[in-house]
């Protein structure tokens, strides 16, 4: 193929053949369209550009274009340039290519936990920030960057996290990553290199996280759990444990904040044993009541790895998260991060820095907090009316609630919800294999639907409940 194609027209693989230049160009273009190399709608270079590239007169190209337009191969519209005509031979459809996710009927509503209301992404404000950030960026920002992430973002985050989450932060100990899982993978690598064999986890959480630690060669025993949160007092008995992964501000998915005594016990353990606490502060921005649930990291910045994300406060599509590291870990995490390929887009990092510095982030979080609180209140009110026997918990903060179900009904309620077109998950999906079987419950992500789908989702939920 390569040998038979000339690259005349540097962006356009066409071969000049035949006697006349014009007819040669026309033949080559027709052939390119016929074989699907040039697909319908593709814009051709301007006649001037192509003429320069081919080293022929502009008129020759312009004439060839004009004839092909006349023949119906190309179209020429004012302001839109010359394009391959829509009805020109389309690419043959391909059969049998593996699809990542087989298409399946999507439910009408989803109350899966873990996603914010995507319809509320502040597009206009984000674009404003992007414009200011890109205009102000130094040239080097477009190059291969510092593997910790842009200094502009780390500086702004240090201030923000100190102010909003009580985190002891310094730009030098912040590392930007492309999501919580990325950060956890880095920590898994670092812990393994430190010869840690076990990382304690909570009795409830995400198997994706546990599996990631397992893949890094770490065992993941679960801490017992009760109404005050994870029993961190048990850490001392787990002799092979070198770190513990937790969601202290708002246990995921059970929703309780870790009791102050349990916080103290975790920090005491870390200090006494030289262990580390990995603090997953996934939705720390969203607190609706006045409990003082600052980040655990403030208690001991040298023993806690604080991990935050823009996935809940803004959108997962940004792929931006951050770690605030104990000083002694900074070098090891950078080493684990390795290549610049794990750095997030510099443009998005600069935009987020500007977005936070301008106050737009605070405004957005404040606005979303009001929306989510309203939804939470509606959820509680509607349940009180339509399903008064259901106990709701975990609602002081975050984007989801736990609805306790009668024993043995979890599976059937989820099935009933599916019949109502509603996707919702049960608490058993989040239970660690070490944990004793607990109560049946639903984990309801009330932030997930767009406003337009919220009432319908709530109604479907109530219909499915016993």
């Amino acid at each position: 193929m390569t040998d038979s194609w000339a690259t005349f027209g540097t962006d356009l693989h066409v071969e000049l053949r035949g006697s006349g230049l014009r007819s040669g160009l026309m033949d080559a273009l027709r052939e390119a369209v016929r074989t699907g190399r040039l697909t319908p709608g593709t814009r051709l270079p301007s006649s001037r550009s192509l003429a320069v590239d081919l080293g022929i007169a502009r008129n020759t190209v312009a004439d060839a274009y004009a004839e092909l337009v006349a023949e119906g191969w190309l179209t020429a519209l004012q302001g839109s340039g010359t394009r391959v005509a829509r009805r020109a031979a389309p690419r043959k459809p391909q059969a049998g290519v593996v699809r990542a996710r087989p298409p399946h009927r999507r439910p009408t509503y989803s109350l899966h936990a873990g996603t914010p209301d995507l319809a509320s992404f502040p597009r206009a404000e984000w674009l404003k920030a992007a414009r200011r950030a890109l205009t102000a960026a130094p040239h080097e920002a477009f190059g291969y960057g510092d593997s910790r992430g842009r200094i502009e973002l780390r500086t702004v985050l240090a201030d923000y996290l100190a102010r909003a989450r009580g985190v002891y932060a310094d730009p030098e100990r912040i590392v930007i990553c492309s999501g919580f899982v990325h950060g956890l993978m880095l920590m898994g690598k670092v812990l393994r290199q430190r010869r840690v064999r076990e990382v304690a986890v909570e009795s409830y959480g995400l198997d994706v996280h546990w599996n990631l630690l397992t893949e890094a060669g770490l065992r993941t025993p679960a801490l017992p759990f009760d109404g005050l949160g994870s029993q961190t007092g048990e850490l001392a008995a787990l002799r092979a444990v070198g770190a513990v992964l937790m969601t202290p501000a708002h246990q995921f998915p059970m929703g309780v904040p870790l009791h102050p005594d349990r916080r103290a016990a975790a920090v005491d353990w870390a200090r006494g044993s030289g262990g580390l606490i990995l603090e997953d502060d996934y939705d720390g921005e969203f607190r609706y009541d006045r409990q003082p649930v600052g980040a655990l990291q403030g208690l001991d910045p040298e023993r806690v790895v604080y991990m935050g994300t823009a996935s809940k406060s803004l959108a997962p599509g940004l792929r931006l998260a951050w770690m605030v590291l104990p000083e002694e870990l900074v070098g090891e995490v950078i080493e684990a991060k390795g290549s610049v390929d794990w750095v997030s887009s510099a443009l998005d990092q600069l935009t987020l820095a500007e977005f936070i510095a301008s106050g737009a982030y605070d405004r957005h979080v404040r606005g979303m907090r009001l929306r989510y609180r309203r939804r939470r209140d509606q959820l509680v009110r509607v349940l009180a009316e339509r399903a008064p026997d259901i106990r709701v918990s975990g609602i002081a903060a975050g984007l989801h609630a736990v609805l306790e179900l009668p024993p043995g009904t979890e599976g059937s309620v989820i099935q009933a919800a599916a019949w109502q077109g509603l996707a919702v998950e049960g608490v058993s999906r989040f239970r660690h294999k070490d944990a004793p079987t607990g109560r049946d419950a639903l984990v309801v992500g009330y932030a997930t639907p767009a406003d337009s789908g919220w009432a319908g989702a709530l109604d479907a939920l109530c219909r499915a409940l016993p």
Copy 2:
């Protein structure tokens, strides 16, 4: 710390104490500034917002703000809100935090290969595309995405690669990654899982790439190299080799295109042995002369993994690259990619899709091609005048040239360049340990300097040459 801080003022860790609400708030704010929790320049919430959060009268907050402004703790500027005053207690400087890259004296000029002219990043056009892309994006674009990358970008890339690089592409077999290294890491994982033990590489290339394969558990024997490129005929003799990593369009860094016979031999080997060719098409867009150097992938899309990137054509800071996979590999690569955390920013992906679809990408590449060609011509002309004994090669394409040096002078020329304030690398830096010692040479990345630094870099280079 947590227990002593109340979270009154949801974004602002202040503790109300003392008798009066106003004086309590003032004390808390003073304390927050004094201890560095609120740093100079930080913008405070509006009095209305804070009052709502604290459940107190707006006037109380407004009065407290006003008094603190009067005392010099805060500043209030029209349009900029209330902020912590610049002269308020600064955060204590921290000593001893590990720095990722120790500061060192930067050379005045760099002719390192591998970076495009960052000053030419099309900021305004990119912002236009971002605006269109964000305005048109469906809500789900902001969520956790398809691990292959956004379909909009894969669709546009399929057309572009077919048209500009002769690649047989289909959106279903394209996977977006965050750089060539990311793609190579995925391929290393897939090959290892297929029980491949060795990946042949070229005698010249980047040790970062070789090391990455080694880390994946693969040995990397080097193919012999001559004026026609890598001797792919030798592949048949390497029985443990299951894949070969190559830069067929423009060998990096030697600059020769792989000879047609060698291309054919590589494809024959892959077909006969079931092996794979990993085609690193890092600067395929930049060809200045008329040799037909289309992508090798067109010869056999089922045996070649095509890998392209925006790092040379636009900017490395975008962290966007793409793989076009043989059909049978798609599932395995998606599996290896695993978590959504390895997906690039959805916003940048959508913007690039729009940038390409609108024709801006072609215009940019065309413009850069003219600039780089002009630089190449200047380099050749200046060398002919000032260092007529130096042979220049590898200049038909790409962003760098190879300058042959008298035997034994490579190290001293690089040192002499450093004295001129010029950073430049020798070819030995890119030589595989299996490869025989070759000629002394410099690898000159003529795209790297901004226009303002180009003449100076060229002059420094000439001064350093023997």
